[in-house]
Amino acid sequence: MSSPGPILEARGLVKKYGQVVALNGADFELYPGEILAIIGDNGAGKSTLIKALSGALQPDEGEIELNGEPVHFRSPRDARRAGIETVYQDLAVAPALDIAANVFLGRETRLRGLLGDGFRLLDKRGMRREAARHFAELRIGVQSIGQPVENLSGGQRQGVAVARAAAWARRLVIMDEPTAALGVKETRQVLDLILRVREGGLPVILISHDMPHVFELADRIHIMRLGRRVAVVTPKTHTMPEAVAIMTGATPSELDRALTKDEG
């Protein structure tokens, strides 16, 4: 049995802002069913890479393939349409709306027939049922799916964002520092949630600064430095200090060695 190819792949991504080179030929692969963490120092190109993969910006050079098919995302909407959902760190929910309304925000379903098509009537009951099902699948405990999101804790609010992403993502979920705005206990809840998203079969790209969390969750760790992927390690083959050393350039990675050879 041949191993499956990557679900999302990028080759030689370049993005320049004037003189500043944010991405300098970055490669990327995400395989089915895995949690891939992306780590790197500030300015290493993590967020530029993520923005390119989620359609928030267009790379100057390089290719992106989804399931082996070349894709060109001109907006986050394009990426969403292709089945890629993103969870942001800053709790992108509408606090006054209830949980079900947030899960379906921008994708509301209407009733069938004349009531829906003619009178544009929302299928509120159907949306609540669906939202409740997603919450049950991810084992997110809330009193009522009909309560406003502002009544929830920060962790539960991020749970709403994760549930929304998991509900709509057909290919993969990108989590951009999903716990950065949360306390210790709430972070724990969201980390468990990320594991459950993977259990549900969706691969996850996780951007995080928190090494212990990265090493706990990730199947593979993609290390960015100076706008490139300098190494991919796993929590089994490398220790945390080793990964940090590669990230900061203290330990030359294979790529670093190759570069030095070129220049010498």
């Binding site: 969403r80 992108a92 929910v93 509408a94 006054a96 709306l97 921008g106 009537l121 929302l122 929304r164």
Partner: protein, 319 residues
């Protein structure tokens, strides 16, 4: 029990209690207040501000504000009556042109707020003056009388149990019903709330923010045009001095008393109806017990600041 809890938690309960208390106060103060004919009069007095406040509610739900409501309505009303009386335009096209003028102002507001990214208060402060000037320029400060019956239709009455009601009041309730439907039963309504509640989150979920905002300002313009039609029905003339004193603040007062937050994203149009009724009851009751008009301004000013303060304090607690 669940039902009782939901009723208590409903956002319109506070305003409703305030309305009942206000009515109880004036009922105790004067025998003339709580009579069918007087209540019908309150409704007639409320209908113009009530309809203006529908547009104001939509705008405020998106975290905007419209300071031009009264003068835009005045301009629409002057145009529809002048065209019919002075320019020989048939009644229906004249009426439609008046309403379309208000819709045009709505589109202009929406375009400037989304396209040039100007703050709504500045945009509408500008159009407040533009519409004010145009009203006087177009009308030449004349009052138009002898209007076609289409334009005065909403002043007509029908009788239920010996009490007269105007068709204008019926239109007001119908418009509230339609707006409630749009806000609560359609995806558009959810998007209006989301845009006012957390614009960035709304954008990230793929909602077209600009389209929502333009639709809101355009519909608001339509309500000002319809309010102008109601005003003509009530006064039976086209008056260049109408709509320029209390209407602006009263429409905002109605929205705020009705429990809608000036920060956007929270509120109900039914609350606004109750808020408009509170304003109407206050004005009517104070007149009945012989309080001079100037004190009514005083009371309205205090009311609106009080209501906004409550909003601010609860908002801070939530944040």
């Amino acid at each position: 029990m669940q039902f009782v809890r939901r009723v208590i938690a409903a956002p319109t309960v506070g305003p409703f209690i305030a309305l009942v208390l206000t009515m109880a106060f004036f009922t105790l103060k004067t025998d003339r207040f709580f009579q069918a004919q007087n209540i019908s009069l309150v409704l007639q007095q409320v209908m113009v501000v009530g309809v203006l406040a529908i547009g104001q509610t939509l705008v405020i739900l998106t975290a905007g504000i419209d300071l031009s409501v009264g003068t835009v309505m005045a301009l629409g009303q002057v145009i529809m009556t002048k065209l019919a009386v002075m320019n020989g335009v048939p009644a229906v096209p004249a009426l439609l042109l008046g309403i379309l003028t208000c819709v045009g102002f709505g589109i202009l507001h929406g375009g400037l707020v989304t396209g040039v990214r100007l703050p709504p208060c500045i945009v509408t402060l500008g159009t407040l003056n533009i519409a004010f000037a145009l009203t006087h320029i177009v009308s030449n400060d004349l009052t138009f009388t002898g209007l076609p019956t289409v334009e005065t239709f909403f002043g007509r009455t029908f009788t239920i149990g010996g009490t007269d009601f105007t068709y204008g009041v019926v239109l007001m309730f119908v418009l509230y019903g339609l707006t409630w439907y749009g806000l609560n039963q359609t995806a558009w309504g959810r998007h209006v709330y989301a845009v006012g509640d957390n614009r960035e989150a709304a954008r990230l979920t793929g909602i077209n923010i600009n389209r929502v905002l333009i639709s809101v300002y355009t519909l608001a313009g339509l309500t000002y045009g319809l309010a102008g039609w109601l005003l003509v029905g009530r006064t039976q003339v086209g008056d260049p001095n109408a709509g320029q004193t209390t209407e602006n603040l009263d429409s905002i007062t109605a929205v705020v008393l009705g429990g809608t937050s000036l920060f956007g994203g929270r509120g109900t149009v039914i609350g606004t109806l109750i808020g408009a009724l509170i304003v109407g009851v206050f004005r009517n009751g104070l007149t009945l017990i012989g309080v001079q008009v100037i004190y009514q301004y005083l009371v309205t000013g205090i009311l609106v600041i009080l209501a906004v303060s409550i909003d601010q304090l609860t908002h801070r607690r939530r944040a």
